[in-house]
């Protein structure tokens, strides 16, 4: 008897241990994901937006202390031509890039295997007072006479507010996520504006107006549509919607923000409909009767009693719809055209954060700047959905009961 009891207790303990272990694994996995994401993502702020092997150098008499990625880009684009614009002397900037050494030196001077190149670079920098040289670290010789200009690290604000996303640009990557954030918000906003009235009307129809028989058919099928993979919706958008938009609005390409919004709206509809319908049906019959008994029409009762009563459920539906739309990847990737510019029209291509990650992760080398930048995008996405979740947890849920 005693032994039996001991064995039973032991078994209990073991099982509890296993369950606890799996719960712990889950918790660790969750925390791991977050830590990993942010560790990699924050890494982007720890370095200059330039490949590690590359350096920028100027003549030692040049007084310019530091350059921002933006300034360098403008110099290379020809938008900044004078050192004075950077706080230096009133001379024009002379660019030197390893790619075009042949214009400065003859093949003989460089030697057959470019063995003289480092020395020539050194000489050139020493000679030209206004040079801004951009070359590989390995070309620095012992008696290097120029001054290496440090490139500013990427700032959080620059990252968030710069309006250019061009992570593979040379010599410095442009990592401004503003166009992507705006792209995401634009597409989401229009999607919800489209889906909300349609979804709400459908939910009201199903909950209040339709006969029970129609409802019993509509409800499960609409739930089913919520399960269709996003890539299928994207495919549909690509073969039907995109050509349609191109024709109707007479635009050069049909892959536009509008196409993305419509596809997202279609995808958000089942979610919005099911959740709002559920909450509309929780409105107590007594309230409905009280309203009707006062001479209100059914229509008035819907708007004045039932919808206000279910408003928190409807808000939940909207919030979940927004959450889904913000994170949606494949469908958006397939139909928005993915132009990383600040959106200015729904009839032009734009690009969202998730689509950027999906489109560029394949090209980014592991651990590199671009890779980390994509992780930082992932963090932004995570934070966005986290906030949405918090709103849901603390604002919508408690109101329900």
């Amino acid at each position: 008897m005693q032994v039996n009891r001991f064995l039973k207790n032991l078994k209990e303990k073991i099982i509890e241990g296993i369950l606890t272990l799996s719960g712990t694994i889950t918790s660790i996995a969750v925390i791991l994901i977050i830590i990993f994401l942010f560790k990699e993502g924050i890494g982007v702020f720890n370095q200059a937006p330039m490949e590690k092997e590359l350096i920028l150098a100027v003549n030692k008499d040049n007084h310019v202390k530091e350059l921002t990625p933006r300034q360098i880009k403008d110099i290379f684009d020809g938008k900044i031509a004078m050192w004075s614009e950077l706080g230096g002397s009133k001379d024009s900037i002379k660019l030197f890039r390893t790619e075009d050494v042949s214009t400065y030196f003859t093949e003989e001077e460089l030697g057959a295997n470019f063995e003289h190149l480092p020395q020539k670079i050194n000489e050139y920098i020493a000679r030209e007072k206004n040079v801004l040289a951009f070359f590989n670290k390995k070309y620095i010789t012992k008696g290097f006479s120029g001054r290496i200009i440090p490139l500013k690290k990427i700032g959080v604000m620059d990252f968030l507010l710069d309006n250019e996303w061009f992570p593979t640009a040379q010599p410095v990557a442009q990592l401004g996520v503003l166009p992507l954030i705006l792209g995401t918000l634009w597409v989401t906003l229009l999607a919800i504006l489209l889906a909300l009235p349609l979804g709400l009307a459908t939910a009201i129809y199903m909950a209040e107006i339709a006969s029970p028989k129609i409802r019993s058919i509509l409800k499960p099928t609409i739930e089913l549509l919520a399960g269709i993979p996003s890539v299928v919706y994207g495919f549909f958008g690509l073969v039907v919607l995109v050509p349609f938009i191109q024709r109707v609005f007479n635009v050069p390409v049909g892959e536009t923000g509008l196409a993305g919004s419509i596809v997202l709206a279609i995808m958000a509809l089942p979610t919005i409909i099911t959740i709002s319908e559920d909450s509309l049906r929780t409105a107590p019959r007594q309230l409905k009767e009280a309203s009707l008994a006062l001479g209100a029409s059914h229509w008035q009762t819907i708007w004045r009693v039932i919808v206000p009563y279910s408003s928190s459920g409807i808000t939940a539906a909207i919030i979940l719809g927004v959450g889904r739309a913000i994170g949606e990847t494949m469908a958006v990737l397939m139909v928005t055209g993915n132009a990383a510019v600040i959106p200015h029209s729904y009839l032009a291509p734009l690009r969202t954060i998730p689509a950027t990650i999906a489109a560029e992760l394949g090209e980014a080398s592991y651990g590199g700047l671009h890779f980390k930048a994509l992780f930082a995008l992932g963090c932004i996405l995570f934070i966005m959905t986290f906030i949405i979740n918090l709103i849901f947890e603390f604002i919508v849920k408690p109101k329900k009961h």
Binding site: P284, L287, E289, A290, S291, A293, L294, G295, A296, R304
Partner: protein, 250 residues
Amino acid sequence: MAKLETKGVDLYYGDNHALKNISMQIDANTVTALIGPSGCGKSTYLRLFNRMNDLIPSARIEGEILLEDKDIYEKKFPIDILRREVGMVFQKPNPFPKTIYENVAYGLRVNGIKDKKFIDERVETSLKQATLWEEVKDKLRKSAMELSGGQQQRLCIARALAIQPSVVLMDEPTSALDPLSTHKIEELIFLLKDNYTIVIVTHNMQQAARVSNKTAFFYLGELIEYDDTNTIFTKPAKTMTQNYITGRFG
């Protein structure tokens, strides 16, 4: 002329014959109590007068139901005008999750009244009629859900009175309330009797005896006996009624 009248009314829920050939006349400015055991059809009968049974898709009604000699189930009779004329108070207090003021104003608003002064005045009068004014006059903009159960029920009465009906139907209005609140509502019914025709469904025999002029006893969908309350409770014509009011069954 009777205020309310039914002539040979039958009501079916699907196959269930819930009301059987009921004919009854209710006079203006009286309180009529409908009594009987659960499921006897008294609530269903009450709901004929403001067509609340219409909400149940399987309900089928035969016979005539008249309000001041007009058939209220006739197509031409607008249902909202009927419900304005015939107010209702429900079993459980069911204020809207709105402010006290908006609860009382609701019936006016849905009936197209926008005149703010008029609404203010109606809200005050109705709350006074429902003897709630003194308790809530300083918190009209507070949610009605903050009131106690008894106050909520009186608010529901005020809400029904605001649109100036001539008939008030009450479906066991005190069954969810404590004795003190019940007492207040009964006093209120007594006060309202002069101006309104009140039909009240009640489980509580003493209540019927206290507040009503006439009492109708329902059993299994039939109207067993209908007479002055005094007669019903002192010398009923039918033994079944006798048995019920003395508590031998029910």
